[in-house]
């Protein structure tokens, strides 16, 4: 890894999550720096999706800490406040395993609805 001053975009520490008796994430640590490409691999059902969902605040972990772009998204069993969470999410992209495209919108509308509705950009700006 080059340069020690690399910006840390994602920092996960001691993250744990159980669904009932099933322990899915057990003290997971992960750090991703800007422009780094990271692959998480594991067998089906090993918790890859769960980890990503926790990092987006779609799933609430039980213990540990998650920092995204310098903002603490999750710590001590508590998620960031809704409005701050929404702001953070506009800066983080997520592609779902089952895509979850919006079927009532066109392709262009699907890719531009985020910037348009939330950051109040015009269609041409968003389409860039």
């Amino acid at each position: 890894m080059s340069g020690s001053a690399q910006e840390l975009v994602l920092a996960v520490s001691n993250l744990s999550k159980s669904f009932g008796p099933t322990r899915v994430l057990a003290d997971v640590d992960l750090s991703v720096q800007a422009s780094q490409v990271v692959v998480v691999i594991g067998p089906s059902g090993s918790g890859k999706t769960t980890l990503l969902r926790c990092c987006n605040g779609l799933e609430v972990a039980d213990r540990g800490r998650i920092e995204v772009c310098g903002t603490t998204l999750f710590s001590d069993g508590r998620l960031l406040h809704d409005s701050e969470l929404n702001a953070l999410r506009t800066r983080v992209g997520m592609v779902f395993q089952s895509f979850n495209l919006f079927p009532h919108l066109t392709v262009l509308q699907n890719v531009t609805i985020g910037p348009r509705r939330i950051r109040r950009k015009t269609l041409s700006e968003a389409a860039e």
Partner: protein, 222 residues
């Protein structure tokens, strides 16, 4: 036994006027019912929000579990005991609207809950608030799914509106009964009344079918 539709023709304008009143009562009740239905449907989306859910449930349970006629009588004959005297037309609209709202709320709730929950998650992951995701992503898709059951509900409402004739409202049925009281032609007049209801219900059904097709073509559904 000969049928004599003379009294029907002779009093045609009264029947037409009654039909107009039926359309007015039903139309106003429909608007009220839709508003209540959407509101209560949204209230009951999440059982974890106890108070909201309980309020909605009490409403749906009471309204769905008691006869419409009893509800109408409570409004029209019951409320005056508290000094609340509402005009008959207003009582009819209020009673029918509240009644229909309970059924419509279940239609709204069912349609929203039938939308894949990944849609809400995807919208939230873009940074939308819950309310914005509901308005921009979930409701436009849910509305298309609401139309067929809402069509049933609207048609039921037209037919149920005949009960307001018992609140002294001069609706289609009431006008028919007035004609019968002087002509004694029950069969002919009730047949004519039934036919007019049939026209009203089927016109509604047809209009909703057109609307559904339009929304589909308009790309509101895959």
């Amino acid at each position: 036994m000969k049928l004599d539709f003379g009294p029907v023709w002779a009093n045609w304008s009264d029947l037409a006027h009654g039909a107009m009143v039926t359309v007015e009562v039903t139309g106003a009740a429909l608007v009220l019912g839709c508003l209540l239905g959407l509101l209560v449907g949204l209230l009951r989306l999440d059982p974890r929000k106890r108070v909201r859910y309980a309020v909605g449930s009490v409403y749906v349970t009471f309204i769905r579990g008691t006869p419409l006629l009893v509800q109408l009588f409570l409004l029209f004959f019951g409320l005056p005991q508290f000094g609340i005297v509402l005009p008959a037309f207003f009582c009819g609209v209020l009673g029918l609207g509240i009644y229909s709202g309970a059924y419509q709320s279940e239609i709204v709730r069912g349609a929203i809950q039938s939308i894949d929950k990944g849609q809400m998650e995807a919208a939230r992951s873009l940074g939308m608030s819950h309310g914005m995701a509901m308005r921009a992503i979930i409701l436009p898709q849910a509305i298309v799914r609401m139309i067929p059951p809402l069509g049933n509900e609207f048609i039921a409402l037209i037919k149920n509106s005949a009960l307001v004739s018992l609140l002294t409202i001069s609706d289609l049925l009431h006008e028919g009964q007035k004609i019968i009281s002087v002509s004694y032609r029950s069969l002919e007049v009730y047949l004519a009344v039934a036919l007019i209801y049939l026209l009203l219900t089927n016109a509604t059904g047809f209009a909703l079918l057109r609307l559904e097709r339009r929304l589909r073509v308009g790309g509101l559904v895959q």
